[in-house]
Amino acid sequence: MKIAIIDYGAGNVQSVLFALERIGFQGSLTNDWNEMKSADKVIFPGVGEASSAMKKLKDCGLDILIPTLKQPVLGICLGMQLMCNSSQEGNTKGLGIFDVDVIRFSNSVKVPQMGWNTIYDLQSALFEGIKENEFMYLVHSFYAPKCKNAIATTDYESEYATALQKDNFYGVQFHPEKSGAAGEQILKNFLLLNSKS
């Protein structure tokens, strides 16, 4: 299986590569259009600040390519946020794949949310074998509110969409590559998705 990990200079890509290795898969880092188009699965990681990450994406022309991909695509953390309509962080226009606007937690809670929280209302093949209220590791200051693309929920300040799906596009706010065995299971589920799902 050819797994392309989008390398646009924003994100802890090494952790994703290592996680794939632990579950018996090999990913390759790329920002090459052809390599990405021909991959069986595409992973879109990202940490850092939204507007500068978006700028890096644009520098590689990836803002045009990503929404046109036909195979399963998984955005992780900032990757997921950039797949939304917009982010309040740096007033960033997103890729518009998920129909939701990313906003900041208020200061009534500690920001960033950092640590292990539960995911529930799981509604996707991505969560095959994952029990309701499983713990995942999260580090983020901005979040996607509940919306029609939500496939999982987490509660911090309020209930929000901790995972999103639309057609072949998936996004998770948590870090499956850092969330123990359950996180690895979610990555494996993604890799085993039927390409047409």
Partner: protein, 251 residues
């Protein structure tokens, strides 16, 4: 519900764990990679590696270690000790560290915090603060607590938050090594004046100390070394204990 985190801290010298690691069921307790895996399996929420080596080759050895830990461990980890430049941090993150912790370098050059947060994001910037109460004032200390400064703990904490730190690791030198409990009063005050997560360090001796640091001290995470390394407190037992006390933990 976001859970409270339990974080074992491993001191590293020349790529090996030092002092006080006494795991009966490990083949090589000096091997940080094996120890990290063990802790991840038994329910540690994160790990902190503190590099205390002072040799020329320290950087290369540390990066090699970070890669090995990242490859074999499926929970987040922070690396600290002697980190003083953007390049140091870039190399550690590139090789799989999730967060870095800076201490003396942040005091000497506070702009480093802004630079790191801007370049890599606040989520990976932990500012470690060692402090000691002198004449009723909590003063920041440097170089592993050896050098006193005039910097007030609470002012400094506020400043590092404003400069973009994503988390504060506060060690009370008055409590460290005493096994008499964490510095809960100072921790509560820290939580009141900053809105980023606080990791409490220094003083863990009993399971009750962990209950207290989360309830009285309002800490988001608790870090300890010897009680875990000497297996005086097992992480699974500790978590069940905390859960019985109605503290949210990941089990």
């Amino acid at each position: 519900m976001l859970t409270k985190r339990i974080i074992p801290c491993l001191d590293i010298k020349n790529g090996r764990t030092v002092k006080g690691v006494n795991f009966v069921d490990l083949k090589d307790a000096g091997d940080p990679v094996e120890l990290a895996k063990k802790y991840a399996e038994t329910g540690a929420d994160e790990l902190v590696f503190l590099d205390i080596s002072a040799t020329e080759e320290r950087r290369a050895t540390l990066i090699d270690l970070v890669r090995k830990v990242a490859a074999s461990t499926n929970i987040p980890f922070t690396v600290g000790g002697g980190i003083s430049s953007v390049d140091d941090v870039a190399a550690l993150l590139k090789n799989g560290a999730d967060k870095v912790s800076i201490n003396s370098a942040a005091v000497k050059n506070p702009d480093l915090i802004n630079e790191l947060a801007g370049k890599f994001g606040s989520q990976c910037v932990v500012v470690a603060i060692d402090a000691k109460k002198i004449d009723n004032r909590w003063l920041v200390h440097l170089v592993g607590g050896k050098v006193a400064t005039e910097l007030d703990l609470f002012n400094w904490a506020k400043e590092v938050e404003q400069r973009g730190a994503g988390e504060i690791l506060f060690t009370s030198m008055d409590n460290d090594g005493t096994k008499n409990g964490f510095a809960n009063e100072a921790l509560t005050k820290l939580s009141q004046i900053v809105n980023i997560p606080i990791i409490a360090s220094g003083g863990a001796g009993t399971m009750n100390h962990f209950t207290d640091v989360f309830t009285d001290g309002k800490a988001d995470a608790a870090l300890a070394a010897s009680v875990f390394h000497f297996q005086e407190i097992g992480i699974p037992e500790l978590k069940r204990f905390l859960k019985d006390k109605n503290i949210d933990v990941r089990i």
